[in-house]
């Protein structure tokens, strides 16, 4: 970090901050991403359903409706440029009663109003034709053909990596505690660092209200809403092909059952307002609820094959719509707040919308010739056939040594993750980038070796290697 001034400072290294930074570098804008944590994708971008929503759900004429309709295809395009796995598996919103079926008609009409045409209402038998494991109690379903699945943290890592490859800077462990508006913004971190920028984009997720208040804007009130998930072994990944939703009822939005792009099965989320975004506990009640309600849709899911549970905290608000625009309280300070579902689906359309806002407030945007929107595929190795692998290993021997046996990840792939933008610095960082430790044994076998690789690549002792930054050390000292 230097004393030079950035044109734009993006606060928050989530998927929204990532895609906005990538757009900024498309125009050659000197941008910096300020992230409170020691890695990117640590908030809602790490722990959500990973669904590309079709766009039938938002109330018509809202920002959510508009950006969702625009966002689906833009996301598919960006994901393919960034080499992030994305799949159009379609979704089924299931009704379990005549009353719920009536609600499907409502969703269908709303979808048409939002400009979504890839919708069809089908009866229970047709739904079971599409999904053989679907419950006999499903009487009808809304088939959303344009919907898909994507890995949210991988998308975040890729967007920020691509922005960095195109000149953006990432500063981690930068917790913004004060913002002074002089000629430019002077942004101060908790540990005394300063960054200067002409424009600030606030996409701090569940903390965006707090960040806005630093420039005197108290209009944003974020309600942190926790959702618990259970992730199941790849042995369960084939239970369903589509993402299975339940019709929202007065008791809640229902629990989804979905394959993931990596072949696991994801179930969840619950929805409960929590006191603080830091409340990421899972609870016995929450896990029971996910289990019970998921079985309502797909009775054959075997919950003995759960490999992990986690909680994500979404940045909801009272109004229910995204809050995107220049702050009324502070010029050149753009809020991109209250980005809850379908925020992931909208990450690219939001980023482009923000570019329009920046133009509107006077930032000159001209396409840069140097921008390369393609990102090298970090998973190039696993996509090779045996002959190609054999050749590649001859010149890159560490790719021949499997470290994570459950997911089949080699030493070479792990070292690559510690060296590539944005570099992984801890066990969870390597896990999110390579899937090492994400399989059945949950790192029981490979974590000592992953620790060693991180220590070597970063030139630190094993005692300094953490699980996820801060005081999350793994070993205390040499015996």
């Amino acid at each position: 970090m230097s004393n030079e001034k950035y044109t734009v400072a993006v606060i928050g290294g989530g998927v929204i901050g990532g895609m906005i930074s990538r757009e900024l570098t498309r125009y050659g804008i000197k941008a910096v991403i300020l992230e409170k944590g020691n890695d990117v994708a640590l908030g809602a971008s790490k722990a959500n359903s990973g669904i590309v929503h079709g766009g039938y759900d938002p109330e018509p004429n809202t920002l959510k409706a508009k950006l969702n309709a625009l966002g689906v295809e833009k996301l598919f395009k960006a994901a393919s440029e960034l080499n992030v796995p994305i799949k159009r598996n379609g979704s089924l919103v299931c009704a379990f009663s005549e009353e719920e079926k009536a609600h499907l008609d409502l969703l269908y009409k709303r979808g048409l109003e939002n400009g979504i045409t890839a919708l069809e209402i089908i009866d229970g038998d047709k739904a079971r034709e599409l999904e053989e494991n679907l419950s006999e109690s499903v009487v009808a379903a809304l088939w959303v053909k344009n919907a898909g699945i994507v890995c949210p943290y991988e998308l975040t890592v890729a967007s920020i990596g691509n922005a960095m490859d195109n000149g953006a800077e990432l500063i981690t462990d930068f917790e913004v505690v004060a913002i002074n508006k002089k000629d430019a913004f002077e942004i101060l971190s908790a540990d005394g660092k300063t960054v200067l920028a002409d424009y600030v984009i606030n996409c701090a997720g569940t903390y965006s209200g707090k960040i806005a208040s630093l420039v005197g804007d108290n209009s944003i009130e974020i309600i942190p809403r926790a959702g618990e998930y259970l992730l199941l072994d790849k042995a369960e990944g084939m239970r369903v092909k589509h993402t299975i939703f339940q019709v929202p009822t007065k008791d809640g939005k229902g629990i989804l059952v979905s394959p993931t792009v990596d072949g696991n099965l994801l179930t969840g989320p619950t929805a409960s307002v929590v006191a603080s975004p830091a409340n990421k506990e899972t609870t016995a009640d929450g896990m029971n609820k996910v289990n019970t309600l998921a079985l309502k849709s797909v009775p054959t899911v075997n919950f003995r094959n759960v490999i992990t549970s986690f909680t994500g905290v979404r940045a909801s608000n009272k109004g229910g719509d995204f809050v995107i625009g220049e702050s009324a309280a502070c010029k050149n300070f753009i809020n991109v707040a209250a980005i809850d579902s379908p925020g992931l689906t909208c990450c690219v359309s939001i980023a482009e919308y923000v570019m329009d806002i920046l133009k509107g407030v006077g930032l000159k945007l001209e396409l840069s010739n140097d921008f390369n929107g393609k990102r090298n595929d970090p998973h190039f190795f696993r996509k090779m056939n045996d002959e190609e692998k054999n050749e590649f290993i001859k010149s890159n021997p560490t790719y021949g040594r499997i470290v994570c046996r459950c997911e089949g990840i080699s030493e070479g792939e792990m070292r690559y993750a510690v060296k590539t933008n944005p570099p992984a610095s801890d066990l969870d960082g390597v896990k999110r980038r390579t899937r090492a430790g994400m399989g059945r044994c949950q790192g029981g076998f490979c974590s000592p070796t992953v620790m060693k690789l991180i220590a070597e690549e970063r030139g630190i002792g094993k005692e300094q290697v953490t699980k996820n930054g801060g005081g999350s050390y793994i070993v205390t000292e040499k015996l």
């Binding site: 060693k452 040499k478 015996l479």
Partner: protein, 115 residues
Amino acid sequence: MERNLTCILCPRGCTLNVTVDGDNVFVTGNSCPRGRYYGEEEVIAPKRTVTSIVRVSNREDTMVSVKTETPVAKSDIFTVMEAIRKASVTAPVKVGDVILTDVCGSNIIATKNID
């Protein structure tokens, strides 16, 4: 003095009642003669094999596993550990190599090869 013990010599796990009266030791509850000897020794002079690790100074993050060549008095376990903790060796090490001599009456020997 009277003590109840679980015999560990076989999976049966008999509950032994051991009474010490001067020089005489009485064991009841055992199902076999070995149980009686175990009960006697466990009350009069319990012994344990201590196993631990010693750092190999010329190899990165490498430990050689070690053990007491013969069992030591149970009361000496932590004294033995203290001696082992202070020790270090240089590779190569062979199974059976003596790492420390006469620690509470036993040698400490290597149980692993380090090339």
